[in-house]
Amino acid sequence: MVRLIRTEKEVEGRYSEQWILVEEDALDQWPAGPLETVGRPAARQDGLARARGEAIYTADVQLPGMLHAAVLRSPHAYARLKRIELAAALELPAVRAVIGPADLDALTDHAGYPGAPVAAAAADTFEAAQSAIEAIEVEWEVLEPVLDPEQAVAEDQLTQPARSYERGDVEQGLAEADAVVEGEFRTQTVLHNALETHQSVARWEGDALEVYTSTQFIWGVRNEIAEKLGIPGDRVRVVCLYMGGGFGAKNDAGDYTYVAIELARRTGRPVRCALTRREENLATGNRNATIQRLAAGARADGTLTALRGDFVNSVGWEGWLAPTAGPMQMLYACDNVRTVEQGAKLNTPPMAAFRAPGFVEGTFGLECLLDQLAAKLDVDPLELRRRNYAASDSLGERSYSSKNLAECYRLAEPHWERRHEVRSRSEERWRRGVGLASQIWFGGGGPPSYAWVRVGSDGRATVITAMQDIGTGSRTAMAQIAAEELGLPLEQVEVVLGDTARGPYASISAGSSTIPSMGPAVRSAAADAARQILEIAAQRHHLEERVLSLKGGSIVSADGGSWPLETITGLLEDGQILGKGARGPNPAGMRVLTFGVQVAEVAVDVETGEVRVERVAAIHDVGRIVNPLNARSQVEGGIIQAIGHTFSEQRLLDPQSGAVLTQTLDAYKLPTIADVPEIVAEFVDVPDAHLTNLGSKGLGEPPIVPTAAAIANAIRDATGAQVRSLPITREEMLRALAEERERRSAGERERVGASSA
């Protein structure tokens, strides 16, 4: 019997309600800790294919007769097209089609940002397509761009109405405080720079469309295209077998996909539209810059009495208002909180989700502010956080499905304890210190998500679902979950994914949701298959099903009998056992969140402003860990990306024209292997008893959330200097050091003045 219920779905903090079907026979969770396969390290199932260069990414898809597209983009931050002439381009050799704003919605004659797509051409080669777009005659009316977020806010140029949140009475809370700290923090625009650029190959077959695309959500792209083109969803097949990184920027179809589709339709040939690295850094999204004006008040013992934040997100020409105030609203128990978030509409490229959007930026400000408060009150920073521990959901009305942040803090103690030894290694010029920051984020996933598990007569199982593995190892995790439920060795389980024509609906790989959304569906499908196998075995051996179980590739009976799985499935010859599974709802009335803490150790050269991160310890609570090997890699990867955000990465604009100056990987500096500190990853690894049949939350985003703040707080510990903006360039570090020297000498003068008076 299936029940139809209305439930809530959350992706990156955006909640929606939807109908789902729930099976009655919910599975009990497995016990905590390592099982036969789940909870044990497993090498990536697709590791060899990727490492040997055999994996076919979208970038590698070559179809017979395939044409290449190039896109003409606005050279201006803000301009109107006065005239466009495509004919000359179409006359060039090897050029097969040219389209402009009149031909396709994705192309515009009103360019709101540099890089806005205006026209496109398909040709036999990419070079010929580039020549074609250079031959397009364009006349622009150049308009004055708005580039300053504060000016935009002052002029009420917002992407959406301001978002306000209030609980308690902040003014009263500040008035009651023994200490109040205030600060303005800024974070920069960061570019995703997945190594596989945004790209699609489109091919029509009659009225059916095939799209190979580098995406985090094949099913979402399928539905989006179907709706846009007004064709049935089942006439659109979206394929992404291997994916070269997304980090949030590849959640939608994107204009390049529509360009490929339209050019393929006009030419009757497959068309690839692949962005160059420079286009990638212009027009595929970014983590928006923020300005955060924050205040916190606390009693002498460190108990928070008020938190106040005014946030401006530089959203760009389009985009959504990421929850920069989220950490301030949710991380601590504080009765009086007021936040206002505004999204500045600017003539800059649109933002896109980027690994914990909003929370990365907001955690930097909030957790730096907390350390300012700790210093002012002379309270230990870890103790300050414990004193303001939120035992129940700070937003009210709900309980946590599980929260083990206290255990994270406990596990952090040995790392935090190192600060005495680290500080003692300070020298005249290189000062050393330790800082920490807490992490809160979503990551509960949700329904609907479906999987099938097929068991063949050879006793091998195949998980089939239209999800994607964007490089996180979700393919391997799904195989582990199915293997566990079927009692099979991991080598006997394959996973088929990445194709909307092969398998049921599966959810997006974003918002740290793949394992929590898909894992329970896969387990449920495997359990369905297992039940069928045991039914068959029971009949074959004249036993009751309840005495039978699957273990080690065999059917085992309570009385000691054991039959290899294939002796039962083999009876069926070419028959197949097909298990079906669905993701159940999230627990009603509960908030499903991830938690953690990171402890950073730094050395600061007080003469040059050079900062070296020497060690980062990360302790995260994301429920059950399915694959400790991949989990550690996620943590390391998140921290390394955060180190880039903290020190070297910054999109720079020409302040007059708005042109993006950092379009290459030479100008835009990603971290290299030489920039990596020692990283220690630990997990609480306790299943969330309320969350699905698996008890796992997502881990993709949590590790990137607290790193910048932990580093900034370590810098403060080492030098007393408060960095206020990311990235922490030498310039910013020297500014903070000078400010600190000034503060100290002012204090010194005061003391001298007081004693001489």
């Binding site: 590791g47 040997r52 720079n193 990184g245 996180t472």
Partner: protein
């Protein structure tokens, strides 16, 4: 179009390629060696690394006609190199798009120096970017191959 003769992974190839065509384009588009990835196309990221006579070079900014008699080794020629297993064992890849280039660079590194130190690995591999941040695992893979 000018003729081009190349020795790739021990096999001889003859084709026509315009002057100015990069080795990366010839490998990927003309000959189907798609294991070599192009991620930036201007010599900044290392994803396209191949070896010429054992020396790692960036195939996206190497003109095909300048290769001459030097022997080209791509990831396809290193598929059975023990480093490949070591990368998988150490979990030294996530999305995997940079991985063939990483392995081609690492293979040249260990050919010259089979037991590099951490410092030597960091020096030798600093030209190969990985956006997923698998660097600690790459270091481990090259230490443990």
């Amino acid at each position: 179009m000018p003729e081009l003769e190349l020795t790739i992974n021990g096999d001889a190839y003859r084709l026509e390629a315009p002057i100015g065509r990069s080795l990366g384009e010839v490998l990927r588009e003309d000959l189907g060696f798609t294991g070599t990835k192009i991620a930036c196309g201007e010599g900044h990221c290392g994803a396209c690394t191949v070896q010429l006579d054992g020396v790692p070079v960036l195939s996206c900014i190497t003109l095909a006609h300048t290769v001459g008699t030097r022997k080209v080794t791509t990831i396809e020629g290193l598929r059975d190199h023990p480093l490949v297993e070591a990368f998988v064992r150490a979990d030294a890849l996530q999305c995997g798009f940079c991985t063939p280039g990483q392995i081609v660079s690492a293979a040249a590194l260990v050919a010259a120096n089979p037991t590099p130190t951490n410092e030597e690995i960091r020096h030798g591999m600093a030209g190969n970017l990985c956006r997923c941040g698998t660097y600690p695992r790459i270091e481990e893979a090259i230490l443990s191959w």
